[in-house]
Every structure is written in C-alpha cells, then in structure tokens.
C-alpha cells in the first residue's frame, strides 16, 4: 500500500522546484515532516484520494500528473484546520488551492469531476450572484455530454422532486442578487486585476 507498484508512473524531477517557485506557499514544502496532522485534521479527509500530506510528498517526488489529477485539490473546503495545526508552519490550504489554480491553468481541471462541479458553481454565481441548484446540477451533468447529461438527470429525478416537495429546491426563474450589474462590474474588475498581476509576473 505504501509503495506504489505502478511502474508506469511518470516522474518529473523538476516539478518540486517548479511548485516551490510558482505556487503560493510552495516554498515551504521542504519543511514538511510527513506527520499527518493535516490529513488527520481534515474534516473531509475520508473523501480525498490522497489528502494534503501525501499530496505534498507526491509533489516532492515529482508526480506531476497524479498531483494535478488528484481530487484533493478540489475537495478542500478552505476550513484552514491543516494550516492552523501544521507544526511546521506550512500554509497547507494555500498550497492545495494554488495547485488547483495551476491545474485549471494547465488544462487538467476538465478531467476532474469535482473541478467540473466547481466550474458549474462558478458559472451560476457569476451569472446570478446566487447558486441555483437546478442550473448548477444541470450544467454539471451536461458537462459530461448530452446523453450522459440526460441519464444523470433522470437518475436523480427522485431526489430533485423530493427537494421540490419539501421546498428545498426552487421552481420558477432563478433568484438573482438585486444589483446583478454591479456584481458583474466587480467580477470584471477582479479579472482585470488578476490578468494584470499575472502579466506583471506576480504569481497567484
């Protein structure tokens, strides 16, 4: 279990250094002593394929592909428990989320389930300033393709109806924040700043 017998695993020996230099908090990864306090503190640690401790080891081992395909990047809820408890002062949350941002930039995210979901979620928030359960799920389901989208929707129809009956799922037009235009303007400005920072060489 501890040692992978998968010899097809690809190692990129420059990956750790790249992470040190390009991911926020990555320069602290050399401090990690693999104690497990981060993964053991994670409220959804059981839902992660690797968890932060192993992810850090994988970065150091140069397992670039496996790191970027890991669901650990996407299941993080930003509770910051790992960061607060890390005995070596590693900003674990920043590292995990920094890697997620890189995974998007490098085109890995479309292959990861949770990343697709995050994308749909973001779409709803940017359009309405709110999450609309129906549209978020629909967008997520159909990101797998038309047929798969129909199938997934039908599979979950019972749950959806149950939610509607209990008043947990809204019917009718999507709710919007009152100043949707203002929200758009804020987001556009944020994107502009982000692009400017990137061009200026400052890293996220």
């Amino acid at each position: 279990m501890a040692v992978s017998s998968d010899t097809s695993q690809k190692y990129d020996l420059g990956f750790a250094r790249w992470v040190y230099q390009n991911v926020k908090g990555g320069d602290k990864l050399s401090m990690c002593m693999q104690c497990g306090a981060c993964s053991g503190s994670c409220p959804i640690g059981t839902e992660m394929d690797h968890g932060p401790r192993k992810l850090i080891m994988m970065v150091r081992a140069g397992m670039k592909e496996a790191v970027f395909q890991s669901n650990t990047l996407w299941n993080c809820t930003s509770c910051y428990r790992c960061t607060v408890r890390c005995p070596r002062g590693i900003p674990v949350t920043h590292v995990v989320q920094g890697l997620a941002a890189k995974a998007v930039a490098l085109g890995y995210a479309s292959e990861v389930d949770t990343a697709r979901f995050a994308h749909s979620f973001w779409w709803s928030v940017t359009h309405f300033g709110r999450t609309d359960e129906r549209l978020v799920t629909a967008k997520y389901y159909f990101s797998f393709g038309f047929i798969a989208g129909i199938k997934k929707s039908l599979d979950n129809l019972k749950i959806a109806l149950g939610m509607v009956m209990k008043g947990r799922m809204h019917v009718g037009l999507p709710h919007k924040v009152s100043d949707n235009k203002g929200l758009r303007a804020i987001l556009e400005k944020a994107t502009e700043i982000e692009m400017r920072d990137k061009q200026g060489g400052a890293e996220s």
Partner: protein, 430 residues
C-alpha cells in the same frame, strides 16, 4: 575590584536529581555547598515517577543513595521552601538574597504522623498533581527528604492549627513560623531549577480538560505509582474502571512551531515506559503509541526493541489531528495513519498526552538574573562570559536522568574552577 577574600561557597538552586548531584559532587571535593529547594522536599520530578527508564527502577533507588551522601556530609546545607530573591556581584563575590516560606514544623519532627490525625481539613495534594487530597498536616510524600511534615497555610489561624500543635508530642509544631529573607555570600551558582510540563490546555485540538480520561504523562506516572491516587492501579479517572484501551500521543506540543519548537528527547521513552505499566497490569490491554518519529537515543534503542516486541503495543506513525469526545465522555483520537493512509477515529478508555519539558524558570516573573539563556529559555550550561553561573540538568536543556547527572558533575567542576580562579585573583590583588 574584589574587596577581601573571595567566597568559595557554591550555591545550588533546585534540589532535583541534577541539583542534588552537583551539590554532593562539589561537597565531596571539599567545597562548602548550600542547596536551595523551593518545595518542602528534595528529589524534584524524579521523586514523582512511578519508576524510571531504562531499568524501570523505583525513584528511591537513585535518590536514597544521594540522600545518604548529603546526610553524611557536613559541608552541605539544605534549605527547603526557599527561593532566590535576587543575585548581584560576580564570580567569587555574589550577594544572594534568599526568601523562605514557613513550614510551621521544626527540626524536632520525627514524621510520626500524629498531627495528620488531629485535623479533618484536607488540601489538594500537589505531589499527585491535585488528583487527590491530603491532610492539612502532611508529609510531602513517603520518601521525602527531609522526613518532616508540613502544615498547609490554609489551616493557620484556625482551631485546627491548635489541635495539630497539641497532637505533637515532640514540640515540633511552630505556628509562629514566618517568611524570612536573608543574605548569603556566594562564590559560584549552579542553577538546577529543572522543568515543568508544557501547558496541555494550550493544545486545544487535544481537548485536555474536556474529559477526565484525557490526562498528561506526569499524571500517568502518579496513576501507576503505588503511593498515587489509585494505589498504583491504572484506572479511568471518569469511572474508576481499568484502562485497557490506551492511546499515548507523542509530541503533544513538541516539535511544533505553534508550541514548543524543540524535541524534549525523553517523551518517547517515557511513553514506552507507560505502555509497559499498562501491559504489566492487564494481560488483555492494548496500547497504541501515536508518533512522528520514535527517538530512542543511544542505548535506549534496546528499550524500544523490547516494547515493540509486544504484539499488544502498536506503534502508529501519525500525529493525530484532534481528540473528540463522544456524548458519554469517551475520548476519540482522530488522524491519518501515514503508512496505510487510513483516516481513523478510534475510541479509548484513556488518552495520555506526552507533554514536553519547558524550563521551569521560563515564566517565573520574579526570577533573578541567571546567566545567558538559549532561544527556548534554557540556561546555557557553561557560559564563558559569566564564569560564576552555570546550569545543571534540565534547567540547561531537555535531558534524561543519566544525562542530567552527567551535566551536574560538569557544572560542579565549572563552579569549582570559577571559585578557585576568583580566589587566586583576589589573592593577587591583596
């Protein structure tokens, strides 16, 4: 500079194993020694252990022989319930102000115990870390040196104090005893003030204080000791049932930039000793030791081998994230096994936090000048720029008993060198 002949007297502050050793070594070499101890008895932390590694001897083993050496040596003067108020001067010529607290019992005490029976007032037993109570007229513990009772300040000026006094056949109770302050002329000082455990309540995820079944490693020593609160039975503090599923959590507040950044070096061995205590008492007990790395230095590796050969002692490479408390009060240790990657949540009868050692002088707000400190507050053992001040034992850094004893011998030698040098210089000036 120096006026008159330099003092050759060596002051040892702290009467734990290190202070005792430094005192007897210096005295047996021919120097006058004053040994100050803040509590009513010598022995320090070692006297409160059930047994000590690596041989698992009882604390009396190492201590009793040293008490003999003190008793036989007229050059050593022991002053208990005493602390240093202030210190000034230089090697060969220190002026030290000492303050003592009243014991209310004089040297006529034979430790017969009649006074203890004369009162019903019970006070918290500090020797057992407050886990039980003792009579307000008490012997600090059964192998206390000196074997003299103490009367708790709580009963002074109450009728119980008069009853206690009346019960003593030897005229040993002195209710007029008071605090006193006096001055000493000293040639060199050895700080052997030892350590205190890191404050477990600061490690909030480990829930110390939230359940009586989460204890620290010092309380574990008392639970296993025959003169402890349970008479030596390792029982759950919550319900008095045998503790048969026990978790020992290493590095509780150690090697942690949020707490003590350093390794205390002895806690791994301390916990392995605790595993032995549990396994000796219950054949069906299971002990899980959660660790980052097992640090059994030098020959102590043999002890590690011995303990790890027991199939009912599991070494789990994991620093737990937190300890949760179930509704019925059961502690649950949660974390990730870093070898198997299992994310676990396991319930235990008893959880013991292996706390590290902090220099006891660290937060002592009225501590006198003690010489140079390192980054963590330990007193640098042999400072070059202040030759009259040195440290011995854990006052100088985390050490086990045998290393403390070695450092005490070194400190005695450095104190002797300091007073001799000062004497030679003052002679040259005269």
């Amino acid at each position: 500079m120096n006026q008159g002949p330099a003092s050759q007297t060596i002051l040892v502050v702290g009467g734990g194993i290190a202070g005792i050793t430094a005192a007897v070594e210096a005295a047996e070499t021919g120097y006058e020694v004053i040994l100050l101890e803040q509590s009513p008895a010598l022995g320090g932390r070692v006297s409160a252990f059930s047994r000590y590694f690596p041989k698992l001897c009882h604390p009396t083993c190492g201590l009793e022989i040293n008490y003999q050496r003190i008793r036989k040596n007229p050059r050593i003067k022991v002053i208990t319930m005493a602390k240093v108020e202030s210190l000034s001067g230089q090697a060969g010529d220190y002026t030290v102000l000492v303050k003592t607290k009243p014991r209310y019992v004089n040297e006529k005490c034979t430790a017969c115990g009649d006074c203890a029976k004369a009162t019903d007032v019970r006070v918290s037993n500090s020797f057992n870390y407050g886990m039980d109570k003792v009579s307000a007229a008490y012997l600090p513990h059964e192998h206390a040196y000196p074997q003299k009772f103490v009367i708790a300040p709580e009963v002074i000026d109450t009728p119980d104090a008069d009853n206690i006094k009346a019960a003593c056949k030897y005229g040993a109770v002195d209710l007029d005893d008071t605090e006193s302050v006096f001055e000493l002329k000293i040639g060199a000082v050895i700080w052997a003030t030892g350590w205190k455990p890191y404050d477990a309540t600061k490690i909030t995820p480990y829930s110390y204080g939230a359940s009586p079944d989460i204890i620290n490693n010092l309380e574990m020593e008392r639970l296993a000791a025959h003169d402890g609160p349970t008479g030596g039975k390792i029982l759950r503090p919550s319900n008095g049932e045998p503790a048969k599923r026990v978790a020992l959590i290493q590095c509780a507040g150690s090697r942690d930039t949020n707490h003590l950044p350093y390794c205390s070096r002895i806690c791994c061995l301390g916990s392995m000793k605790h595993a032995v205590y549990v396994r000796e008492q219950y054949t069906d007990a299971v002990v899980d030791i959660y660790y980052i790395d097992i640090r059994a230095h030098d020959r102590l590796e043999a002890f590690y081998r011995r303990v790890s050969a027991d199939p009912q002692v599991n070494f789990i490479k994991s620093k737990p994230g937190h300890v949760e408390i179930e509704e019925d009060g059961t502690p649950v240790v949660c974390g990730e096994d870093t070898i198997s990657r299992e994310v676990y949540a396991r319930s235990y009868d008893l959880v013991v936090l292996a706390l590290g050692m902090e220099p006891s002088a660290l937060t002592d707000t009225d501590a006198p000048h003690m010489g140079s400190r390192d980054d963590y507050g330990f007193i640098v053992p042999l400072p070059g720029d202040e030759p009259g001040l040195s440290s011995a034992g854990v006052a100088g850094g985390p050490l086990d008993v045998s290393m403390s004893v070695q450092s005490a011998t070194a400190a005695a030698l450095s104190a002797i060198q300091a007073v001799r040098k000062a004497t030679a210089q003052s002679g040259a000036l005269e």
